[in-house]
């Protein structure tokens, strides 16, 4: 028998209660994994999309919301003339409700711009020109909308022909409806307006020059800012709100977990007053009793954490295939998130065990034995 055996026995002596507490922690941790995994996943998906397209800098006005505000498309022409800017392309991208899908990324792109180049035709063709009333669908978008080449899709006021299915190399690309920008502007009533300028820089542009370029862009477009892919995500207020909400909801779940474990451990200590009295009588130090109670609650947290991560991972997989989300993001179930979640669960366990452990250490062995 080891000390760990004693700790385990302490937990399994009331298997139903321990099981229910584990369920409580697991749900809390599953919520953390699912919510944070979604938030991180969304951020990563956007970063990957920009990386796949080959965007070095992105100019937008990220003042509010998930999508940036629209601005005059002429700004693109001015930016294109700046030094070290190799190529630019204007984009009008919006999250729209498309037919039965509650939210889809619809990306109007400057015809002929580099953002079209990375799209691989899986079926059908690309639009013939920038004015054709047509779209190509990412593979996931086609699946979600249940569309094939030859069908039509309603984008706001326009009914557009589906001329091709494309593989964009990233979940966000594959989940999008892609069309020439003029068609998008017309469909959404944003003639002459865009909300992104994608920039490719000349090769090996030094970082300092990129910063200088950012300042020059700010002069041209005071409300906007040039950001690299990672900044796009971190600067977006919508992302920030989503991240804050995911963590605050998780925190709530964790608080519930703490109360659950604390209740269980307190009950355990109260029920085991006699047993703790015996341990003290046979010479166990009070700190060993404290350590035992803390180890029990930490183990409870650890087991709850592992179960919670498993449940959260399953939840994320289910969410990934939910029509409302499919194609918008690729949930992030990284080892980092799993480790953080289990660590949170263990910390929750230890914190929850502090008071019960303190209570147990205050017991008088005589009273504990004889009641």
């Amino acid at each position: 028998m080891t000390f760990f055996t004693i700790v385990v026995r302490g937990l399994i002596r009331r298997p139903v209660r321990t099981g229910l507490t584990l369920v409580g922690i697991s749900i809390g941790i599953a919520a953390v994994v699912a919510l944070v995994g979604m938030a991180w996943g969304y951020e990563k998906s956007i970063e990957k999309q920009l990386d796949v397209i080959g965007v070095d800098l992105l100019v937008s006005n990220m003042s509010a919301g998930i999508m940036p505000k629209v601005f005059d498309e002429k700004i693109q022409e001015k930016i294109a003339k700046l030094p070290h800017v190799a190529e630019t392309t204007s984009v009008l991208m919006q999250l729209l409700s498309i037919e039965d899908a509650p939210m889809m990324m619809v990306s109007g792109r400057e015809w002929g711009g580099f953002t079209w180049n990375k799209l691989k035709i899986v079926e059908g063709r690309m639009p013939k020109d920038g004015s054709e009333q047509a779209v190509v669908l990412g593979t996931l978008a086609a699946e979600v909308l249940k569309k094939k080449v030859g069908d039509t899709v309603q984008v706001e006021t326009s009914e557009l022909a589906v001329v091709g299915i494309v593989d964009g190399g990233a979940v966000v690309e594959n989940g999008a409806i892609i069309l020439p920008i003029s068609v998008m502007q017309e469909a959404t009533g944003n003639q002459g307006r865009i909300n992104f300028v994608d920039i490719r820089l000349t090769p090996n542009t030094p970082k300092q020059t990129v910063e200088e370029l950012g300042k020059q862009i700010q002069v041209i477009f005071p409300e906007g800012r040039a950001r690299d892919a990672s900044e796009v995500v971190s600067a977006n207020q919508g992302f920030r709100i989503a991240r804050a909400m995911s963590w605050s909801t998780s925190l709530l779940a964790i608080v519930v977990g703490v109360l659950g474990v604390m209740n269980t451990m307190l009950m355990t200590v109260f029920e085991r007053t006699h047993e703790i009295g015996i341990l003290l009588a046979v010479g166990w130090k009070r700190r060993r009793i404290v350590y035992m109670v803390l180890c029990e609650s930490a183990l409870l947290g650890f087991l709850g954490g592992v179960t919670g991560v498993t449940l959260g991972a399953l939840g994320l997989k289910i969410l990934e295939f939910t029509p409302a989300i499919r194609g918008l993001l690729e949930p992030d179930l990284s080892p980092k998130l799993m480790l953080i979640s289990v660590a949170i669960a263990v910390v929750v366990g230890v914190i929850s065990g502090l008071y019960p452990a303190w209570r147990s250490s205050r017991l008088s062995p005589s009273l504990a034995i004889h009641g």
């Binding site: 028998m1 055996t5 004693i6 047993e275 009588a281 010479g283 166990w284 130090k285």
Partner: protein, 240 residues
Amino acid sequence: MVETVKNGQGTLVYEAVGLKKHYDGGKVAALRGVDLQIRQGEFVAIVGPSGCGKSTLLQMLGSLATASEGVLNYRGQSIADMADPSEYRAHEIGFVFQSFHLLPTFTVAENVQIPMFEGGSSRAQRIERATELLRSVGLEHRLTHFPSELSGGERQRVAIARGLANKPTVVLADEPTGNLDSVNAKQIIELLLKLHRDLGVTLVLVTHDLAIADLATRTIRMKDGRVISDSGVTPPTDSP
């Protein structure tokens, strides 16, 4: 600092002077001033009616309860002033209780190993020692049984084995036969006597059974929280 006192009758193990114990804010007096000395290797029986304070005295000898007033020394050191009484309980004392107080979710061998976690022994050493102790009390065939699977006498033998786990110099037994039938009671007393003889432990036993007390080398009688007679103390003579 441990101080030993010798007066030709063995090293002084316990010395109590004016020992009092009050409960309930002084309303209940369990001990009303006990003076006694117990020496190394003695077998002391403490007898008296229920509520006379004998179990309270035993608990105080084992540092399970603290004195309200008076002095109680173990080998010259005040038990109340011990920095870590658990050290004393773990290494100097072995307890045997009337109700056995075994842990029900642990096997017989595991119950005996429990005190050894404070002894710094390895897992293998703990197993070996527990097996050896259980063999010495005739329970080598019960190692993997749970307390609920044992008879009362067997449970008490496990408790005795547990009490000896860390090789104590003193065994404090509180009505060890109180929950046993006469056959088992006899076996337990014989076992305690054997351990006392073979290991040389000081045995302090609380009992209301005068037949058991007669087996002790010394009997202390208590009543109403006081020692009324002590066969180990010669009454002072008033004659000049």
